[in-house]
């Protein structure tokens, strides 16, 4: 049975032959990926490379067209609800309701995740992102950066072991970016596994343990940060994609 062997427990995420198509368009073309527990993986790629689609499949928002995805040894096909308990998702969309207050939004998501002692936990995560003073303000009245910070708080409510971050820094100022990474650090339960998509090569290089370049739905480059420097990464990106000028200019 999947998910029970010690070997599979060493992997947070295992992806084999993953494809996703939209009509005739193949967004993911046979992705193979293994992410260790506690590893920080950064995925680069030009627009339309399939980064967001990959995150959506891993987050169980989309079904894969074919292939196998295991999260903590659990097959995504049969254990989607259990997998969702273990992952936190932050994208450039906040998943927050503008007509509800900060507290009401977090209370709603806490109920969905069955968070114990939800009042205490809400205060904890809100303080992590420095939003305590705006707890009873409607989300629609907050600035974009504040909403994004709140989105990070939302994703941490259930203390997920795996974080899927799809360009989470979009709309954040420098202090908020620092707050994001601080909030994602250890919360007393071991190191989180993180998959981050970004177009910022320098930032990704600084943060990641393992770097991937995705192009036209395929992983075209994969290295550990220990085995290369930033110049190598930029060169690899130039070779791997045809849109390098957009990022490196």
């Amino acid at each position: 049975m999947e998910g029970t062997s010690p070997a599979s427990q060493a992997w947070a995420i295992q992806v084999q032959g993953l494809t996703k198509s939209f009509g005739n368009h193949l967004a993911l073309r046979g992705i193979d990926l293994e992410v260790r527990q506690g590893e920080f993986v950064v995925i680069f790629g030009p627009n339309g490379a399939g980064k967001t689609t990959l995150i959506k499949v891993l987050a169980t928002i989309m079904n894969p067209s074919s292939g196998r995805v295991l999260v903590n040894g659990l097959n995504l096909k049969n254990n989607a609800e259990e997998i969702r308990r273990r992952i936190g998702v932050v994208t450039h969309q906040t998943f927050l309701y503008g007509n509800l207050t900060t507290y009401e939004n977090l209370e709603f998501y806490s109920r969905m995740y069955d968070v114990p002692r939800l009042k205490e936990r809400i205060h904890e995560v809100v303080s992590m992102v420095g939003m305590t003073s705006r707890l009873y303000d409607r989300v629609g009245t907050l600035s974009r950066g504040m909403q994004q910070r709140l989105s990070i708080a939302r994703s941490l409510l259930h203390k997920p072991a795996i974080m899927l971050l799809d360009e989470p820094e979009m709309g954040l100022d420098q202090p908020a970016i620092s707050m994001l990474w601080k909030a994602l650090e250890i919360e007393g339960e071991g190191k989180r596994t993180i998959i981050l998509t970004t177009n910022n090569l320098e930032r990704g290089f600084e943060l990641g343990d393992c770097l991937l370049i995705l192009d036209k739905g395929k992983i075209v480059y994969q290295r550990s940060t220990q085995a290369l420097d930033l110049a190598d990464l930029k060169q690899a990106y130039q070779h791997s994609t045809r849109l390098e000028h957009e990022l490196l200019a």
Partner: protein, 222 residues
């Protein structure tokens, strides 16, 4: 139990959000009352004519008011990717469907509870228990299938147009049954003469609920 706890949380969240903005309540209510008042003036004061046309007017009004509110139901979830936010929660897709469906049902029933007495007053008709039962039963079927189509239409560009085009042909049978049953109820016929129509409406409710419940996950994931 967690199924219903999560369903109630989604329904409550929708109700709270609607209460805050009031934009949907006010627009649907104004639309409903306007249609009833205009038809009242158009058909004059003849009691016989009123009894003849009233069921049709009532259900045309409720059908279009329903489309208006259902259109809005998933737009709320589309803003800031909230539907995806719900989809990454450890709940089944069916919880989302039932929660959204109950939210829309509650909203429609509130609109109907306000509109029905005004309708009866303006058309000089007696508001019977039979008419209330027909309204509630029909609204359940209407909203059951409407929630599914609303989720389908929200991902399209011309969603305001797509929903009625896809949805109204499907609900026409239940609306026709409701018109016929309401006609009998407004003529003061006994329960016995309504029973066959009520059974058909009930059967549609069950079919719409079961089918929508089963295929909702496929609709939102693809």
């Amino acid at each position: 139990m967690s199924f219903w706890r999560n369903v109630i949380a989604i329904t409550w969240k929708d109700a709270l959000s609607q209460m805050r903005t009031k934009e949907l309540v006010s627009s649907v209510l104004v639309f409903t009352l306007l249609v009833i008042v205009i038809f009242n003036f158009a058909f004059g004061a003849s009691q016989e004519t009123m009894r003849l046309v009233a069921p049709g007017i009532l259900w045309v009004t409720f059908a279009f008011a329903g489309v208006l509110s259902l259109n809005h139901s998933f737009i709320l979830e589309k803003e800031e990717g909230c539907l995806e936010g719900l989809m990454v929660c450890p709940i089944s897709r069916e919880v989302i469907y039932v929660g959204k469906m109950l939210g829309s049902l509650l909203f429609m029933l509130i609109i109907e509870a306000i509109a029905l007495p005004i309708f009866a007053f303006l058309f000089n008709l007696i508001l019977s228990l039979q008419l209330v039962v027909i309204t509630v039963l029909t609204t359940v079927g209407f909203v059951a299938v409407g929630t599914l189509f609303s989720a389908l239409a929200v991902n399209t560009r011309a969603r305001e147009m797509v929903l009625p085009i896809l949805f109204l042909p499907i609900v026409v049978p239940i609306i026709i049954c409701a018109v016929r049953a309401s006609g009998l109820a407004l003529s003061g016929e006994p329960w016995g003469s309504l029973s066959s129509w009520l059974q058909i409406i009930g059967a549609f409710d069950v079919i719409f609920l079961v089918v929508s419940f089963l295929i909702f996950a496929f609709v939102i994931e693809e």
